[in-house]
């Protein structure tokens, strides 16, 4: 691309204890965006880093006069999802790049490729590496794509671009952001994925520590619970199964009584327990249904989502 595109873009970058890499990433990304777009804003979300990340961001900002750089300091460690949401809220660009990881592991041509794809009429464009997936990532995406009923399949993404329209849609859809990608996938807007061959990232790869691992696991479980019916179906199915077992015990105890094969008191004990369990699991099924409705109310504010209205 030779001429800067007449567009205002924001890049939201997640930063968590990354003093070793953030300066290099910003110095790499900033000029690349600047030469491609008319107006550029970078929003770094410092998720309560305990190291010198903020100073490194400031150092990069001082050396990038053409880029407007803002830092949001999170009050305490929020995790990637909530922190990126804050960055998205502050960003003012017509197009917002989300960098969940500040790692220069993709070729800069992926920026052009992704933006070009967006101009073809997509509101959300994800950029993912070809091949190479962790087994756990593969499993997670397989389950969520299979059972969440999302309109667009989810995959591991390095970064993505969102249009202002997509951000507005998401803002008015759901206030609590348990997992952005599932919301994006279900936003009802056209989306695409662009892939690239992995480059070595200047010898750096993403740092994953135990804290990050625990966070990812929690988000994965939350996402599965909230966006798939799996947990609800399993629990409800088990409740119905146990109700059936209790019912069987009631019938069995009557049969045994009339067949005269019981000892004294067995009939009343078993009958009581079977009734109690039948009632208990019945109540559990109702409670589960209520919980499901509450989850729907909290996380799906809009009753329906449309892509557009066409008048002929």
């Amino acid at each position: 691309m030779t001429d800067a595109v007449q567009a205002f873009v924001s890049a939201v970058v997640y930063v968590r204890n990354d003093e070793a890499g953030i300066y290099g990433f910003l110095k790499w990304l900033g000029p690349a965006l600047e030469e491609r777009f008319f107006q550029v804003e970078v929003v770094c979300v410092d998720d309560a880093s305990a190291d010198g990340s903020a100073d490194e961001i400031r150092r990069a900002a001082a050396e990038l006069p053409g880029v407007t750089l803002t830092i949001i300091h999170m009050g305490y460690h929020h995790g990637r999802e909530a922190a990126m949401r804050a960055g998205d809220d502050l960003a003012i660009g017509d197009y917002v790049f989300e960098f969940d990881r500040a790692v220069p592991e993709f070729p800069l041509s992926a920026l052009d490729e992704a933006f070009k794809t967006m101009m073809e009429g997509y509101d959300i464009v994800g950029v993912a590496p070809r091949g190479r997936r962790r087994f756990t990532s593969k499993l997670f995406y397989k389950v969520i794509n299979h059972s969440a009923g999302v309109a667009n399949d989810l995959d591991t993404e390095t970064f993505r671009i969102l249009s202002r329209r997509a951000l507005n849609r998401i803002q008015s859809t759901s206030q609590a952001f348990p997992y952005r990608k599932a919301l994006y996938a279900n936003s009802g807007l056209p989306q695409a994925t662009v892939s690239y061959e992995i480059c070595d990232g200047g010898g750096r790869s993403e740092k994953r520590d135990a804290e990050d691992g625990r966070y990812r696991l929690r988000i994965a479980v939350d996402a599965l619970v909230l966006f798939t019916q799996t947990g609800y179906k399993v629990a409800l199915g088990f409740s119905f199964f146990m109700m059936a077992v209790a019912l069987f015990m009631i019938v069995y105890s009557f049969v045994s009584y009339f067949a005269g094969i019981t000892v004294s008191g067995w009939m009343t004990t078993v009958l009581f327990m079977a009734f109690a369990f039948f009632g208990l699991f019945g109540i559990l099924a109702i409670v589960l249904k209520y919980l499901q409705i509450i989850v729907d109310l909290v996380f799906k504010k809009k009753a329906y989502i449309f892509e557009g209205i066409e008048r002929n």
Binding site: Q39, T70, I92, D94, N168, Q171
Partner: protein
């Protein structure tokens, strides 16, 4: 050496108000202004808001203080007031320090009108959690200037000198002796420092304690509003947001934003900026030039302010860029937490008297009455 009852530094609104009040009491007054005309800096280059307190939802003190003077100012200077528009305040859904309920509670506490309106009338869905019709006006600094110039003409005992820079000030017994760049020397027993952003520079000449100030080089952009926008002023609170509202009676709207209006900040005791290196003697930490007339004015941040506003506003409230105004804004460091903008009137000494005034709001000029002895 000519002697005056009072010498006033700075021909902004506060300076000329003090001059007129002093002359009415029979004082001989000299006003020294380093620019070629009055009202060329902060009095003109600001949002032109006649505050009634809405802007300070976290400082009830500032709010009630503004509200108290709102009516008085609007009556005294009605000719320069534009009240023919609806002023809407809204609270942003995200990133705001105050929400709709808190804003309403605050208005009730400050006893200022606040009527909830549908935020979807003005803002994109979900962007604001509340919108309120308020009562707030804008003043036209140029009309106000004409009024003061007219008033000064008819008064005896006031001498206003433009293009006159102060070279040195020293205390001599119960007098202040002021030496001008023109080599002229004048003296007074009552010196009033209404130089706003230069307040510390004057105090520094006398070796006095300085105000603890953060300096911000600010840009106000002026826009032609769309027909739909013309009758409205829209302000999104309380954080990194924006305001677009009529700029006096000029027919233009001013557009400002908390994040992009300040271009650069200085935390030094005297205003120290990189751009000063480019302009020689025009501007330095010891003498501020006029940012609006400066050859080293920063590039406009209009694209940023405009995008921020468009992120919130419905498309029909459009606007086009007309130009930018720049000025230096001193902010008391103590007021950053509650966002208050107190009017500080500090009496440094008596016999000779030295008074400094620091205020970011025009309608608190009446706070000076006490020190001017016209209560």
């Amino acid at each position: 050496m000519r002697s005056f009852d009072r010498i006033i530094l700075g021909a902004g609104l506060y300076g000329l108000y003090a001059a007129v009040q002093s002359a009415q009491q029979g004082c001989s007054v000299l006003v020294l202004e380093c620019d070629e005309a009055p009202f060329t800096r902060a009095t003109y280059v600001n949002q032109a808001r006649v505050h009634q307190g809405y802007h300070y939802p976290r400082s009830l003190y500032t709010a009630t203080r503004s509200a108290g003077y709102f009516r008085r100012f609007s009556e005294d200077y009605g000719f320069c007031i534009n009240d023919s528009f609806e002023q809407i305040y809204a609270t942003s859904s995200a990133m705001s320090w105050s929400d709709a309920q808190q804003f309403q509670d605050f208005c009730r506490a400050a006893d200022i009108p606040c009527e909830e309106v549908d935020s979807d009338r003005f803002f994109k869905t979900g962007m604001c959690d509340g919108a309120f019709k308020t009562q707030e006006y804008t003043y036209d600094a140029m009309l106000l200037k004409d009024h003061f110039l007219e008033e000064l003409k008819g008064m005896s005992g006031i001498d206003v000198r433009y293009d006159s820079r102060t070279r040195a000030i020293r205390k001599d017994g119960d007098r202040f002796v002021i030496e001008l760049e023109s080599r002229e020397v004048v003296e007074t027993g009552f010196l009033i420092n209404t130089t706003y952003a230069s307040v510390n520079q004057v105090l520094d000449l006398l070796g006095l304690d300085l105000f603890k100030i953060k300096y911000e080089l600010c840009e106000i952009t002026l826009c032609e509003p769309s027909d739909e926008l013309r009758g409205y002023g829209l302000t999104v609170m309380d954080g990194p947001f924006f305001s677009i509202m009529p700029f006096g009676k000029t027919g233009l709207h001013s557009l400002t934003s908390v994040s992009f209006t300040p271009h650069e900040a200085s935390y030094a005791a005297l205003p120290t900026f990189r751009c000063q290196d480019e302009v020689g003697t025009y501007c330095s930490p010891h003498h501020l030039g006029n940012c609006d007339a400066c050859p080293a004015r920063p590039t406009s941040a209009f694209p940023f302010m405009a995008n921020l506003a468009r992120k919130y506003l419905l498309d029909r409230y459009g606007f086009t860029y007309k130009g930018s105004l720049y000025s230096m804004k001193p902010i008391l460091k103590s007021s950053e937490i509650d966002d208050s903008r107190p009017t500080v009137i500090r009496v440094h000494s008596e016999d000779p008297t030295l008074v400094s005034v620091l205020s970011g709001k025009i309608n608190t000029i009446y706070d000076m009455d006490e020190v001017l002895g016209c209560d």
